[in-house]
Amino acid sequence: MSQVVAKDPDLNNLLSIFNEELKDLATKIYIDKTERVIYIEVTREKIMDLAKKLLHLGFDHVKSLSAVDYPQEKKIELMVHIGSYLRVVRKYTVVIKSALERDNPRVSSLTSIWPSAEFHERETWEMFGVYFEGHPDLRRLLLPEELEGRWPMRKDFRIITRKAGEAETPWK
């Protein structure tokens, strides 16, 4: 796993802790240009014990749990923003990315570790169809009955659009 070096000393300490704690769990750890976000890629099976480790390291709540749909690569990528209220690490946000196959996306629910993820998982379930095993009550949150099983946020759910820069002809 490549050893990433950052200018900010605190971030370096945190990265070193991450590297030796999550040696076997994470497949890839990298940071973004502004040195405030740490991306961790992990496979579907190891996400639970990665979450336990992160909770132990002080990241105690989920800021956002969602998915990104890549139809051409046949995968839905789970994207989880983890934050912390502890004074030491609250400057950084950890983003966990894990790829799920597109036709039957299943992953174990993170609610037992971070209860704050409950409503986020319900929203991701109704928008993308990602089934979270072990979720207390996985049902619709925002959508009405008509849009029950149609996963509107996937790319193949088309809506009427106009291309950017196209002339707006109101009466067409």
């Binding site: 959508l143 009405p144 008509e146 849009l147 509107p152 759910f157 809506i159 009427i160 659009t161």
Partner: protein, 183 residues
């Protein structure tokens, strides 16, 4: 035949016929229209984000209570629905039920570009136009419309009540038309 028919026959049918006949006579018609136009109470149905401007319109600076319009609580005692902004599918059902619950001479103001024709969210999969669900009397453009626009809408509705009057034959036709519109 449910138990306990009141001794003067079906009371609501009796009162409806009485009111309808009273409404046509000249002196009663004018007094009634004057009274209803100065007592338009909007029901507490905040459909979406234009509700901020409706609350602003009833605040001290614009104060629509000067025209007698007091925001009231339940659909039974009010006669005006203000559809503020976007109607999503879920909220359209609620707006429809609230409209049906209200007592008869009732009016609807569609406030904001979203209620008129979808506005900023015209191509969203979850949006319904206001007139697809409820027969609308006054439309207010703007996103969100200024509180003065809402005051002007209340005044326009008052003129409409005084000119067109309150008996709503158009409601019957629209009820049948709108019933099959709602998905």
């Amino acid at each position: 035949m449910e138990r306990g028919v009141v001794f003067i026959g079906e009371i609501d049918v009796f009162i409806k016929r009485l009111i309808r006949s009273l409404m046509e006579k000249k002196p009663v018609k004018d007094i009634l229209e004057w009274a209803i136009s100065y007592s338009l109470w909007p029901v507490h149905l905040m459909t979406s984000c234009c509700g901020v401007e409706l609350a602003g319109a009833y605040s001290p600076r614009y104060d629509l209570e000067r025209y007698g319009s007091l925001p009231f609580v339940s659909p039974r005692q009010t006669n005006l629905i203000i559809i503020e902004g976007t109607l999503t599918l879920k909220m359209a059902k609620v707006a429809r039920i609230t409209w049906e619950q209200m007592a008869d001479p009732k009016f609807v103001i569609a406030m904001g570009a979203c209620a008129i024709d979808g506005g900023l969210f015209w191509n969203s999969y979850n949006i319904v136009r206001a007139n697809e669900v409820i027969p609308v009397d006054v439309y207010i453009p703007g996103c969100p419309p200024r509180p003065e626009a809402l005051a002007r809408a209340i005044l326009m509705l008052q003129e409409k009540i005084r000119s067109v009057g309150v008996s709503r034959e158009d409601l019957e036709i629209l009820r049948r038309y709108v019933k099959n519109q709602v998905r």
